[in-house]
Subunit: 272 residues, 3 copies
């Protein structure tokens, strides 16, 4: 396949559930580089547990705002590979996204201006297309061509009904803001769906140190400004690096110590 | 060391048993880039269990057909490092390979046209050559020079007796084709040594859905066309992405659920 | 941010405790590439256990001598993020280093010629600077600008009191040289702080095969020249690939079999 001309940006991010024990991530890199030799590839994570589409969608939501405009984000958690599920390319939030039509691209799709295309033009695929590895044969080739400048409309028709993920928003009621834990990270910090913006909106004029947080039977008085603000072992609430309220333990894993997990309800209120 | 001129292809794949906890993979990348700055490096996997040469050989066999012609494949699972075992560079199957003479390059060596060279020219090595890390001091420098265009014959003399791996082929008998599990992947799929070609050869004219598969006490009627063809939990047989018969569980790990492992016998027959 | 002109070297190594389950490593790569598009990034390891500054410092000490002069080493194990701890850029041992002022850069700082700068010039940072992820917002941008040629003195004033790690040197007494295990690697080899140079200095003229090693209740007679010098299962002592005395088990894990761990005392003596 003839490499295409270099555009100004050719950063390709890649998230999957492929793990690192096999060769799947490697051959996807090979396909990307063969088609778009100057693409720079950034692996977000490949340790999504097999088939956990929601978790990969959250990784994109948390990571992509840190990537440059124009980045092509390749997302492959694809339990429906080989069935009739569609394949998508999306322009949204100033970036491009390629992946299966199973909700993994929720963050891009939630942009009201998103342009969503079904990957119908098989000439961009790697042939023969296998039944079980569209990461290699469909998604990576399309991502590489996008990174090298092929326009989005070349890949297939616009569609208006992509699969969406339910994303219950934070809910304000009786002076409380209710959210939930979305992701527990390596450090045992529990990231919630409560953003700094949603807190500011629910509690206008209330400074962070006057916001209280309840998670399970635990209460945290006031948001902290750093992990180091309190004694080792203390449970703190903090606005984390992706702009979300996080529950953390100073010098340890809040998730392990306090048994926090995805889906746990979190309630914020203004100090009495 | 002076970087060499850029050839048309400079993709280097890298497989090892180094893992990701230490710095070994990183310094090999550093050596490759120092010698051949424009090389693109693709990590296949570094999670080969220590010393498992056969598993690394299978990874090369499964992954390399997906890499571009001319790729330089660096393979370092080297329990004999520092002993008298030879070091090799091989041209075979349209690509180049560098690694110890312990069978890890079996897939390249099984090409009847393979050109096999012993790495005798120490001027290409990194000096001083350590006793315990030839990945850094011998194999990576040679791979980098190959990637940057040094011809194969510069590295040492041809040899005709490289170490080979026993690779028992699929065996046809009494209308059955007998093979074995070669590799269990991250998703719990059991990859066999039965290729689509060997099935077509053993059962000419028989469509895939009319082939039955036995593994242990389990029988699977007909090959499936995708993981999604049957209900969650069903054991299916399918031609996987590297063209081999795989045993998979829909929506789960066949290996865990049914206790499948490397070496398990697999028998295919035409439906009665 | 406008990319800067390319200098002769733009290799960036990266060590952290971020792991591979989340997106932290990926967004740091994204920040590096956005600022310095031609930088080549080499991941040393991201599997430092959370907050283990000493272990990361050892990785730099072991790995950096294998990297080219001028390499920019980005080191982020930063339990004090968001507190008053300083951030540093250091020129030492022919390379550049960026990381928190917590001892992680000990190897660079132990160069008596080291030039140490506090990162005071916020114009090089990524804004807004978060409270919890200075790897992304402070250290990566500075590393990228260094890799792309911004001179060290642009980042802040020289300081003379960086935090240092206690590094008890090998101790000679009564004809014995006493050290300790610094790191157990993936293969179960126990790397010590006893270098080939310190052995040569303590036992002038004594050949390696005449040096005995004691670790716990185990005695090893003579250093070996390769892991393959003795029968499978034998405990051997050997000068490893980073020039340190290692305790290894032929064909297995010395650490698991003999219960070796970081901090274990190791004693070398000349054979009687």
């Amino acid at each position: 396949m003839k490499p295409e001309a270099a555009p100004h940006s050719a950063l390709v991010s890649f998230v999957s559930d492929f793990g690192h024990d096999d060769w799947f991530v490697g051959v996807v890199h090979g396909v990307l580089i063969e088609i778009c030799p100057h693409a720079r590839i950034v692996d977000l994570t490949h340790e999504i547990p097999p088939g956990q589409v929601e978790r990969a969608a959250f990784v994109l939501e948390a990571a992509c705002p840190d990537l440059p405009p124009g980045t092509v984000n390749l997302a492959v958690v694809d339990p429906g590979v080989g069935t009739g599920r569609r394949a998508l390319a999306v322009r949204g939030r100033g970036q491009l996204f390629v992946g299966p039509d199973n909700g993994i691209l929720e963050w891009a799709l939630s942009d009201p201006e998103a342009e969503v295309r079904a990957l119908a033009e098989e000439r961009w695929f790697r042939h023969p297309v296998s039944r079980t590895f569209h990461g290699r044969d469909v998604f990576a080739p399309v991502a590489a061509h996008l990174a090298c400048g092929t326009p989005l409309d070349a890949f297939g028709p616009r569609i208006s009904d992509p699969a969406r993920l339910p994303r219950p928003p934070a809910r304000a009621q009786d002076g409380e803001l209710m959210g939930r834990v979305m992701f527990v990270d390596r450090f045992g910090n529990a990231l919630t769906n409560l953003t700094a913006a949603s807190l500011a909106n629910a509690f206008p004029g209330v400074p962070e140190e006057k916001l209280d947080v309840r998670i399970g039977s635990r209460a945290i008085r006031g948001l902290s400004r750093s992990y180091g603000d309190a004694a080792i072992g203390t449970l703190v609430a903090i606005i984390g690096s992706s702009g979300r309220l996080e529950i953390a333990q100073v010098g340890g894993s809040a998730a392990i110590r306090f048994g926090l997990g995805e889906g746990d309800p979190v309630v914020v209120s203004a100090a009495g």
